[in-house]
Amino acid sequence: MLPLKEKDRPIVKKLLEAGCCARCVLRFCCLGVQSAYRQSYEDTARELCAFVSDKENNGSQDAAVLEQHKEDPPSKKMKMDAAETDVQSEGDSAVVATVMEEGDAEPADSDVCVVCLGVLQQFCDEISEVVKAKNYQFDTMVLSVSLPAQLSVREVSGYIFIVSQQNVFTRMAVVKALEKVSDEKFLKKFPCPPTRPASKCIAQDVQCLHVSIFVAGRYNKFSRTLPQTPWVIDGERRMESSVEELIAAPLLSSFRAEGFNFSSSGREDVDVRTLGNGRPFALELLNPHRAKFNKAEVRQLQETINQSSDKIRVRDLQIVSRDAMGHMKEGEEDKTKSYTALIWTQKAINKDDITFLEETKELKLAQKTPLRVLHRRPLAVRERVIHTMSTCFLDAHHFHLKLRTQAGTYIKEFVHGDFGRTKPNLCDLLKTETDILELDVESVDVDWPPSIPE
C-alpha cells in the first residue's frame, strides 16, 4: 500500500502521462518510506494506476477538491485540466505503456523513464546477472552507482513541470508581484478605480476555535489492570479503558471539548497502583465550547469522575494556566518518589537478614536501559540513587520493601536485576535470587498542583 494523499493524484497523473516511471513518481511525491521502493516495479506501477483511476470513481470532482483543501485558502486550488482523459488500468502487463498512449502526442515507442532513464526501473536485474556470473563467495555487499549528469537535469525538468502545473496565483506570489509592478504598468492592465463586481465575496468556510483550557489534579490508581493511556496494538484494544480516558470523559462532555491531551508527572506500569496523594496530571481540553466553571462546579466535576469508576480517584482538580504543563514536567526530573514493593526471595530469610537495608542510605545504582523498554528507548546507563529503604518482614520468603528514590529509577529492575544489567541490585545485596511480586507508588513528591481542601 502506497501512502499517497489526495493532493498527490494530479501530480501522479501528469507525471505518468509525461513518461515518468512509477518509482520516480513516488520520489516527486516526496515519499520517503523505503518499503514503498522495495516492492516490485510492476506492483508499484499497478498501484499508481489504480490510485489515479480511483479518483474518477469517487463522486464529483468538485467535492474532492474542496475536501482536500480544507485548510488551504481557496486560491491554492490545483489547476485541473479541462479535458481529462480516463486512465484505465488494464491488467498487469504493459500498464505504463497504456498510460503513455493516452497522453499527448508523445512517442510511445519506449517506456524508459524520462527522469531516471530506467535506473529505477528494472536496472537491478542486469546487475545481479553480472554479479552472479562473477561467482564470488560473500555474505554482504555494497552497491554504489555513479549516475550520469543528465539525470540531474531531467530531475529539475520534472520538478519544474510539476510546479508549473500548480496554480501560481497564491496570495504571497500576487503580493510580491504587485510590489514589482509600477503604477503605469498597473494602470495599463487593470482599471482604477476597480470595476463593480457582479456579486459579493462569500465565506467558503467559517471555523471557530476556543483556546485550550487546562485542568490539573492528582490521580490515584487502585487497579492493577489499568494502563495509563489506551493500550492498542494493530488497531485492537488490548486492555479495557485507561486512566486518561476515565479522567477525560466527564470533562470532555462538561466542557464540550473536541479532544484532549493528557500528561502527567511520570507514569506507572499497568500492574502498579498509585496510592497516597496521587500523581500530578494536567489535561488540555481542545476547543472547549464551555470554559467558565466556578469552584463548586469544579468540585462537582471531580465528584463525577470519582463516582464513575472505583479504579481511579482524582483530587485537587482545578483549572490552571498553560504554564501548568511546565511545572509538572519539572517534577519528573528532580523530585523523589516513594514506593512499596512486595519482595520474594529464593533463599529463606529471617528478620535479621534484611535489617541492614534500613541502614543503607544514598545507594548509587547504574541501570542499563531495562530490556522491557529497550525496544523504544536508547541504550544507555543511567545513574540513579535510592535515598532510603525500610523493610517489613512477612515470612521466610517474603517481605515488604519501602524505598524513596530519585525520579527515573526503575524499581522492578533494582529488585530482580534485569539479567544483571542494574547494579547493584537486591539479589546482590541479599545474596539470593529475588523477584518483585507487587509494586505500589506511595508518593510522588511534587508540590504541584496546589492542594484543594475538600
Partner: protein, 189 residues
Amino acid sequence: MEDMEHNKAPSVIDRYYTRWYKTDIKGKDCEDQCVLQHSNRICVITLAESHPILQNGRSIKSINYQISAGCSRLHNRVSGKSKRGGQFLTEFAPLCRITCTDGVEYTIYSCIRGRLLEVNEDILERPELLLGKPSTEGYIAVILPKIEESKTVTNGLLSREEYESVVSKRTKSTQPEPQPEPQPEPEPC
C-alpha cells in the same frame, strides 16, 4: 532451618519471555543455545542448560568477542531509539568463542537475525556467571530483530517442549560424553 529452594509463581523470564532453542548447532553434538524472546520482540541469547560448557563442572579459560581480524563484538555501538550502528547479525553469525580449561573451544552463535544491541562484558571478568547463571546474569548478547520480522524471527527455532523432547531422546540413546574436538573450524565473520 534448612535453606530449601522455594518454588513460587512464574519468574521474570516466565512472565515476560518465551523460550526458544536451537540444538546441535552446526551439527555439533549438544551445542544447544536458548533465545529468550521478550513480548516487546527483544531477544536475549544464552546457552541452553544442555550445552557442553555447562556440564561436568567444567571451567572457562577465556571468552573472546573478537571473532575475526576485522570484527569484535565489543566494538558494537548503538545510538538513538532506532539503535543505529549496531552490527546486523544473521543466524550463524558468531557472537563469541569460549575456551574451556580442558582446551576445547566453542563458538556461540546469534541463532536469529537482528541488530546486535549489546554483549555481556561481565562474563569476561567473571566467567563463573556464565557457568552459574547462564540464563540470567550469564547471558551472552541482546539482539533486536527488525520490526517486520518480529513474528518470523523464531521460525527456525524449537519450542521448550520440542527442545525437551530432543534432549530426552539423547539420554535415551546412551550418548557418550561430548568428546573434545581436535581442531575447531575457523568461522567466517
